[in-house]
Amino acid sequence: MSEGKKTIKLEITRFDPDVDEVPKTEEYEVPTEPGWKVLDAVNYVKDHLDPSLSHRWSCRMAVCGSCGMMVNGEPKLTCKTSLDEYGDSIKVEPLANFPIVRDLVVEIDGFMDKFKSVKPWIIRAKERAEDMENLNERGTYSQSPDELSAFKQFSMCINCLLCYSACPVVANEPEFIGPAAIALGHRYNTDSRDEGAAERNEVFRGEGTVFSCSFANECSEVCPKNVDPASAVNQAKLGAVVDWAKGLILPRGGA
């Protein structure tokens, strides 16, 4: 609040697929108000300087996960990043490691498939065979506070994709299913109501999943919700290995 009004130079990546061969950078002078976030400055450009600017945003309170952008080279949730953290010149680019659709908007279709691959839903052994028609009689699955806290942190992910932008493995190996997807799978593996860990661990032992991670920890550094995906990935590695060792000792389905 102590900071007064000031004008900053905002450099924004522009790309129109119909006209441009490669993305280019445009400069804007933005008069800012105290307390503004980076997103406010980008919105100012859209509202007052150039309505053709395309960028994604919605909730402005770090819940929807749509306003992730590179701010001075670092993946940031722009609604949560104060202008006070920067000087008079800020560079805003689309999230790294994703194809650009237009300006600050990136293509995220492949990411949705990665999410699905870890079976992010509660799997119950019984439901597969019987019991489906008795769903109402059986009631809900109760859970203690301890059981909840075992996975709650991993369920806080808002799919903002900052971790994919920060991950050096994603940069080299685009087919890597990545931090958020593995954290999501691990969230269900650590849920006391779930009985599908064996299925997910089989996914985790496949190509381009947990063992591709080299534990650079960048995902956890940039995560705006403190999910700590790096920890999830490495716990998932252990889970996948223990499950594999069990498979050697016990016949399938024995454990």
Binding site: P168, R205, V241, W244, A245
Partner: protein, 119 residues
Amino acid sequence: MKQLLLKIEPIIWLLFGAGLSIGTMLLTGFVLVVGLAIPLGWVPADALDYERAHALASNLIGRLFLLGLIALPLWKGAHHLRSISLDFGGESRDGAVGSLLYLLAAAGSVAGIVAVIRI
């Protein structure tokens, strides 16, 4: 080759994890004792004279400890070097690089086994 490496990845990762722990904890303690505590006289100089050290090293626990100290960090190093190769864009050569590094670690481990048997 890549598929084979993927198959044995759980074993490799266990050896890597064990090597990481050994490297950071046991090796540090080892260096602390042999490199600092004895030269600086924090423990009596004859605490690890030849007879005592040999007796310590040649019982079963001592042999296993030394084998861990020799072999496991090799797997850690091999796995790290493979990661570094990948970080430098070595996706296409990963099968060959990984196999070579793990073969070296395996050869070092075999040498370690021979060495601790011959103590």
